[in-house]
């Protein structure tokens, strides 16, 4: 086997400096006259260690992480020229694999970080488009739907509706013209699963959509992808063109009379456009505002035609299911829900990034196993699941298997897969406020409860974080939350109170502290805390220089003092103090 080098070249890698690393690599190889294939691949999931380089040689795979330009020459001279792995940046080798991947199961991300996403041949070399050929030659549309039903695949966009059933509705809807839509309007703060899939394995999504179109009888599709994902958009365009060239897309696919065209529609980034009816309005050129359902898209969707809409991750599962069979897929995951789920693991975690685990994996395994536990080994406080529509679960839920039902029962949701880990330094009132602020600003403004109700809830939370809340405010907060949940028009409003409700449920005492004692136990809410400098100050003057309001006084080499009148509690002093002499009360 000849040596080849895989270079992480998704948005995360590029942001971490993959370009410079690649430049150094190509120059170095040339200088040393080495004829080794360098392949740009998608995200392998370890975003926290990018830029990443994986060298495959006869011995197996060696992963180098946290690369900087100057590391490249050392890797070339050591690994490539002398066959001695360069230990300083080596995190995984055939003898000692990185435990980040222990417990993960790659279905959706199987090709991500492995193949060149801009090469259809590499996709096909991994078995790509075999599923399509199989479906077109061996399966009727009904068979495909039955297969998806049997796989127990549920929508990965958040609500978890059984995908096969949804397809069945669209297939059964009368009408010659039907549409398929891929929802790539990933908008949760901190979520990047869909982007990574599109960047790392666009053909999986395209093949999934073609299969779906075949199953329901659609001939046209839209991929609604936010304009902030330029790399994903580029790779989709390339992928569509390649698939057209190969005859997997366009008229008479694979020589059959099945024809199918995919358009890419760029969204302007409104969160609410992730809601399916708003998304369709946006494609139609209208303002992205949800409309009442029924009629559901399966009956009356895009341009009034029956439409099936699934999100990126759902589509990416389809080829695997058809290729490997529903039984195989259903055997992964839980009883009611087959397969895996990709999570974007972030927050106060040692190893953040993309993880793909079988549905039903306990939270503890994801956070402490794959994620390596809490950053700085402080105490875990909560994990926020499902983005702004989700909820915060406390430590007693760590052994909860991650499943649609169990999470909903606990007050959170699976959502699209955001997983934010919080430690004792996080204020739960402030966390709730943060998410509500997000949904409030992203409300489309159409329905009363969402537009005005969330604003009034936010104002109450604002009062809490400023120490101005009252017990009556808690009652009003709960009343508003229940009205908004029950009476809002779309999912955005119906789920917007979740972060507030779960924090009220599990972290009630933090609210009580804010209201009754006007204190923020986590030391986060600025109006409720004071910064002071302890005697351990060495008088380095860095804080005084950093302070934007010149509130810190003191002679060099003597203990400094903060003028509380002038202090705006920005925390800059704490960040720069070399001896941790700045305290928060």
């Amino acid at each position: 086997m000849s040596t080849k080098i895989l270079l992480g070249y998704a948005s995360c890698g590029i942001a971490a400096g993959a370009d410079a690393v690649e430049g150094a690599l190509r120059t170095g190889l040339k200088e040393h006259d080495l004829d080794i294939e360098v392949r740009r691949v998608g995200c392998v999931g370890m975003c926290h260690r990018e830029p990443l380089m994986e060298i495959h040689d006869d011995r197996g795979a060696f992963v180098y992480a946290d690369l900087e330009e100057e590391d490249v020459e050392k890797i070339i001279s050591s690994h490539l020229l002398k066959n001695v792995p360069y230990q300083d940046k080596l995190i995984s080798s055939p003898e000692r694999s990185y435990d980040y991947f222990h417990g993960q199961k790659k279905i959706v991300l199987q090709n991500s970080g492995v193949i060149d996403p801009e090469s259809i041949d590499e996709y096909m070399a991994q078995g790509g488009y075999e599923a399509l050929k199989k479906a077109l030659t061996e399966m009727s549309p009904g068979d495909v739907i039955e297969e998806i039903k049997a796989s127990k695949l549920r929508g990965r966009g958040g609500a978890g509706f059984p995908t096969g059933l949804k397809w069945q509705f669209a297939a059964d809807a009368p009408g010659d013209k039907k549409y398929v839509i891929c929802n790539a309007d990933e908008g949760d703060p901190g979520a990047f699963m869909d982007r990574s899939i599109l960047e790392g394995d666009p053909h999986a999504v395209l093949e999934g959509m073609i299969l779906g179109a075949y199953a329901i009888g659609a001939d046209e599709a839209y991929i609604y992808c936010r304009a902030e994902y330029p790399l994903a958009l580029k790779r989709l365009d390339i992928g569509i063109e390649q698939a057209m060239d190969k005859g997997f897309l366009g008229d008479n696919i694979c020589g059959t009379d099945f024809s199918f065209h995919i358009h890419v529609k760029e969204g302007a980034g409104a969160f609410v456009c992730g809601e399916e009816t708003a998304l369709m309005h946006s494609i139609e050129g209208e303002r992205g505002m949800p409309r009442p359902r029924p009629p559901f898209p399966a009956q009356k969707g895009l341009f009034g035609k029956p439409t099936n809409i699934n999100n990126v991750e759902t589509w990416a599962n389809i080829p695997w299911i058809i290729r490997n069979g529903a039984q195989e897929y259903a055997s992964v995951g839980s009883e009611k829900s087959g397969g895996t789920k990709v999570f974007a693991l972030a927050g106060k975690i040692k190893r953040g990034g993309l993880v793909e685990v079988p549905i039903g994996t306990p939270l503890r395994e994801i956070i402490y196993g794959i994620g390596g536990g809490i950053d700085g080994d402080v105490e875990f406080k909560a994990v926020q699941l499902g983005g702004p529509s989700g909820g915060c679960l406390p430590a007693e839920y760590l052994d909860t298997p991650v499943d649609y039902e169990t999470l909903t029962e606990a007050g959170a949701i699976m959502g699209s897969g955001g997983m934010i880990v919080m430690d004792v330094g996080d204020c739960m009132v402030n966390v709730a406020r943060y998410f509500l602020d997000f949904t409030q600003q992203e409300s489309c403004g159409k329905c009363t409860f969402c537009r005005v109700g969330t604003k009034r809830m936010l104002e109450i939370l604002d009062r809490f974080t400023q120490g101005k809340g009252s017990k009556e405010d808690i009652d009003m907060l709960k009343e508003l939350a229940s009205h908004i949940k029950a009476y809002s028009l779309c999912g955005l409003g119906q789920t917007a109170p979740n972060p507030v409700l779960t924090t009220l449920r599990y972290f009630d005492h933090e609210y009580v502290s804010h209201i009754e004692e006007q204190t923020c136990p986590a030391g986060v809410c600025r109006e409720l805390i004071t910064f002071s400098i302890t005697d351990s100050c060495v008088g380095c003057t860095r804080c005084a220089r950093e302070c934007p309001t010149s509130a810190i006084k003191g002679e060099p080499k003597s203990v400094h003092v903060i003028d509380q009148e002038q202090c705006i509690k920005c925390g800059a002093c704490q960040d720069v103090c070399p001896v941790n002499a700045v305290e928060v009360e």
């Binding site: 609410v272 600003q441 409300s443 969330t454 604003k455």
Partner: protein, 949 residues
């Protein structure tokens, strides 16, 4: 699909067609569901306002959800009135109220204890309609004259005009209107008799008010009063110089004229008893007032020539002489003290008022204080009587008073007067009148079996006493107060009695009227800065008789406003209240559900008013984002307004934030029609638009263009407005078709002497007028000319169902509403005739659009030729600019069509006044209905008349 659906609503079974929403079914069956965003004729629900909540039980369980977007399904069970639903609807409305800013009723009205529509009656006065003003006042109180003379006018304290310079003279304006009305007073009609009777004990402001409103409900009413004459404190407590009794007599007379019986000189507990009255009547209304003077525990208060204030006034009003000696000390600082002092002055006495607080703290009005001083009354402030000196034989000779200074604030927030240690002053006096308060005669009430509270008769929130069928209002339950408070209170109590008599007292809840604190910016929220741009116009002051003269008699001191002054003063009104108050759905629902403006009070954006459009005012502060205007403009195929921004910042505005006035749409008025609040409101041409409740006086067809849309004609006080009967009405119809009447003829028709007369007729002309005109022209050797358009060869039906419709340039400018009728448009250009053409046949069927409703081609008219006419009769239109004629006669119904070229102008009936038929661009025959009356003969007769000259 065609299977009929059976469902249950509130326990009753209903059937409907598939595809109906739950809201549709409720509405079709008259079940009330509130909604702000539903537009009945649009198929898709909007689902924005979330007010139309109902409880739905179906296969998916029971839940509360919106009815507009819930499809009716077989076996479904709906409940529309559970407490949870009400709470949900109220929450939705309260959230909307929390972002809805603006005055609803004006501050003056909100402050008025009788809820008089002050902005409304000032507007009528400004428009020169004092009679209408009185009618509006009498919707709330029959005591227009008494209030005009003697109200303490708390409204003026809240008047926003104070922030410009001074408040409007509201009471004086009311006085003007009420006294102008005396000449031909407005008397309300009585509905059919109910056969129930009410006995009212006490004929003062409360009793008279109750009598009036109960009589207007058709009940028999009898007043029992202990005094020789009706009027209560208005007669016996308020001196004649403030409220002349001849005027009061008139006001009381009009109430009695409604068929109210009265028996005077009978006192409860002495001459009549509650038990007997309860036997004689179906309900009793106790309005016995507060006639007992308070006598303070003051040494010497039992001396001769020490009187109670109200006792003194009653005695005087009854013609009794009271022994006052030469000098009088009046104790007190309220209006009664002033009345007592000024009455004593008029009796030629030296009068000194002693009051323990300061002038600023005195409850008497500033005007009264000033007038008393002008009349020579001495007033000693910060002076408190400690002892009345004298002996039982000779009576009072002096009063020793402690001198006071202001100390710490007391419970009422006023600085408490405290004695200056050791400082007293003696005032020589022959008599002392203690005008410090009065109270109801509770002993009598108790003896009659009524429960009493500490100082008043006890009633519950439905004005009911402990005895079944016995109600009460006014001073006896409120404690001593003013006419306006009593009349407002008694009106509400009368409604409670009416509910009781109908056996529905349980359903009665006191009407909050305009008192709900929604949409209301209190005067404190506005400052002088907000009104900096207004011209300063000083308040008109009431002319008074000179003080030296008036102190000699008891005649009225106020001389009244002249007409011009009254109009000018009324024009100062800032019109704070919302013009859409009577149409506002948000107000209606907020009232119905008892929603509070402050329930979810929080941040609001403040937007400037958009006054750029000539006919529609845009006030984003009142927008509830129901989307009705957005969907209406979309329905027209236009995009005049749309949603912008997200979250709480979301707003509906014209594209790019441009002013509304920059749109070239001719369908902006229909957006105001669609708006459920005052966010888009029609600007009215009137000087002062009210607002008033408009009533439909008839229906006809708009003559503005060849569509002839059906219109509903609304009227109030001579102000006419049009609203669509179904669908929409364009701005031509809404704002340009209401004629400005032509007042008088001009010139004289000379005999034609054999000259040829030709006629040029407007397409507003009816078939009957055309026939007459044609006959006239032919008789006189001429011809009938008109703009030639073309006769339709298609129907409305064809056009709505056509696969494609071609529309010429300019058609939508002539007939804007056509945009709603033509669903699929292809524009062409080429021919000169604006036409709607249906493709698909060799001879295309077409409808021809034109200005003016009637298709005159049927009568073989020709276009006006370019020639010199001898005599040209121009009928109901403008004289064509370049026409050449020796002599032009213009018959015209709209002032705006008048031309200086016309030698003779003959007014004719306008389209709102005439009868006849026209045929529109689809060949449909429409009947014009004379909705407004006219003194002119029918137009055809005028035309015939010309032929006879």
């Amino acid at each position: 699909m065609s299977q009929e659906i059976t469902m249950k609503i509130d326990g009753k079974e209903y059937r409907c067609a598939p595809g109906s929403s739950v809201l549709d079914v409720c509405r079709d069956n008259g079940i009330f569901i509130p909604t702000l965003c539903e537009i009945e004729h649009l198929p898709e629900p909007f689902g924005g306002c979330r007010v139309c909540l109902v409880e739905v039980s179906g296969p998916r369980g029971t839940m509360i959800t919106t009815s507009c977007d819930t499809p009716a399904a077989d076996g479904m069970e709906i409940r529309t009135e559970t407490p949870e639903i009400m709470a949900g609807r109220r929450a939705s409305i309260e959230l909307l109220l929390s972002e809805h800013t603006g005055d609803c009723a004006a501050p003056c009205t909100r402050e008025c204890p009788a809820s008089l529509d002050i902005q409304g009656y000032l507007a009528y006065i400004a428009r020169g309609l004092p009679g209408e003003a009185v009618k509006l006042i009498k919707e709330k109180s029959p005591l227009a004259i008494s209030l005009g003379r003697a109200c303490f006018a708390p409204c003026e304290e809240e008047c926003r005009r104070t922030l410009v310079e001074d408040p409007i003279s509201i009471r004086q304006e009311k006085q003007y209107a009420a006294e102008v009305d005396i000449e031909s007073p407005w008397i309300p009609g009585i509905p059919s008799e109910t056969g129930k009777s009410v006995g009212i004990i006490g004929g003062g402001p409360a009793g008279l008010t109750a009598a009036y409103f109960l009589r207007l409900k058709g009940h028999k009413v009898k007043i029992y009063d202990m005094m020789p004459e009706l009027g209560g404190m208005m007669r016996y407590g308020i001196p004649n110089y403030r409220l002349p009794k001849d005027l009061l007599d008139k006001e009381i007379g009009w109430i009695l004229d409604l068929g109210v019986e009265a028996e005077t000189g009978v006192k409860l507990g002495t001459d009549i008893h509650l038990d007997d009255l309860r036997e004689a009547h179906d309900a009793i209304f106790v309005a016995t007032g507060a006639w007992e003077s308070w006598i303070v525990a003051l040494e010497g208060n039992d001396l001769p020539r020490v009187y109670g204030g109200i006792d003194f006034l009653i005695a005087h009003a009854s013609g009794e002489e009271v022994d006052l000696g030469e000098s009088v000390i009046v104790v007190g600082g309220g209006n009664t003290a002033m009345d007592v002092a000024r009455t004593a002055r008029r009796l030629g006495k030296e009068v000194t008022i002693v009051y323990r607080r300061t002038a600023e703290q005195a409850p008497a009005s500033k005007e009264e204080l000033e007038e008393a001083l002008e009349e020579g009354v001495r007033i000693e402030f910060l002076t408190n009587p400690e002892k009345i000196c004298g002996c039982h034989e000779k009576g009072v000779n002096k009063v020793t008073c402690a001198l006071m200074e202001l100390g710490e604030p007391d419970a009422s927030g006023r600085a408490r007067p405290v004695k200056m240690e050791g400082k007293t002053e003696d005032f020589q006096a022959d008599s002392v009148i203690l005008a410090i308060g009065q109270s109801p005669d509770l002993d009598t009430l108790k003896k009659e079996g009524l429960d009493v509270a500490k100082y008043t008769l006890a009633v519950n929130n439905k004005f009911a006493t402990n005895l079944d069928g016995v109600f009460s209002a006014g001073d006896v339950t409120l404690g001593p107060c003013s006419i306006v408070e009593c009349t407002g209170h008694a009106r509400e109590a009368a409604f409670a009695v009416d509910y009781y008599l109908r056996g529905e007292l349980g359903a009665y809840s006191p009407a909050d009227d305009y008192k709900l604190p929604f949409g209301y910016i209190h005067i404190d929220d506005k400052s002088e800065e907000d009104f900096a741009d207004w011209d300063r116009i000083p308040r008109s002051r009431m002319p008074l008789r000179p003080s030296q003269e008036r102190v000699r008699d008891f005649h009225a001191i106020e001389m009244g406003f002249e007409h011009d002054i009254a109009v000018k003063e009324a024009e100062r009104c800032l019109e704070c209240g919302c013009l859409d108050r009577f149409q506002c759905k948000l107000k209606e629902y907020a009232t119905f559900y008892g929603a509070s403006q402050d329930a979810y009070a929080g941040f609001k954006y403040e937007y400037p008013l958009d006054e750029s459009h000539p006919h529609v005012l845009r006030d984003p502060n009142k927008c509830v984002l129901c989307g009705s205007c957005v969907r209406t403009t979309e329905e027209h195929g236009e995009g005049v307004v749309n949603f912008v921004h997200r979250g709480f910042r979301t707003i509906v505005e014209p594209a790019f934030g441009d002013p509304l006035g920059t749109t070239d749409s001719a369908l902006v008025g229909s957006l105001a029609d669609a708006c459920p609040t005052g966010a888009l409101e029609e600007i009215q041409s009137m000087v002062k638009p009210g607002p008033f409740e408009m009533t439909e006086i008839g229906r006809s067809h708009c003559p503005g263009c060849s569509l002839g849309c059906p219109v509903s004609v609304l009227e109030n006080g001579g102000d006419v407005r049009l609203s669509p009967v179904e669908g929409h009405l364009c701005d031509i119809g809404k704002f340009r078709t209401i004629p400005v009447p032509v007042i008088s003829p001009r010139g004289e028709i000379k005999p034609l002497d054999g000259k040829v007369l030709d006629v040029f007729a407007s397409p507003k002309t009816t078939d009957q007028e055309v026939e007459a005109l044609k006959h006239l022209a032919e008789t006189l050797g001429g011809k009938l000319y008109a703009e030639v358009a073309g006769t339709p060869t298609t129907s409305r039906e064809d056009i709505t169902h056509a696969e494609e419709v071609y529309v010429e340039e300019g058609v939508f400018d002539l007939c804007p509403v056509l945009k709603d009728i033509v669903p699929r448009v292809k524009r062409t250009s080429g021919d000169n005739i604006p036409a709607v053409v249906l493709p698909g046949t060799q001879h295309p069927s077409a409808a021809v659009a034109h200005a003016g409703v009637n298709d005159l081609d049927r009568f073989g008219v020709e276009p006006l030729p370019d020639k010199e006419f001898q005599v040209l009769l121009v009928y109901d239109t403008q004289v064509p600019l370049d026409v050449k004629a020796e002599y032009i006669i213009q018959m015209v119904s709209d002032q705006r069509d008048l031309s200086p070229k016309a030698h003779v102008v003959i007014p004719i009936r306008s389209w709102l006044q005439k009868e006849g038929t026209v045929r529109n661009m689809f060949g449909e025959e429409l009947k014009l209905v004379p909705v407004l009356s006219s003194e002119l003969p029918p137009n055809t007769r005028i035309i015939e008349g010309i032929g006879k000259v």
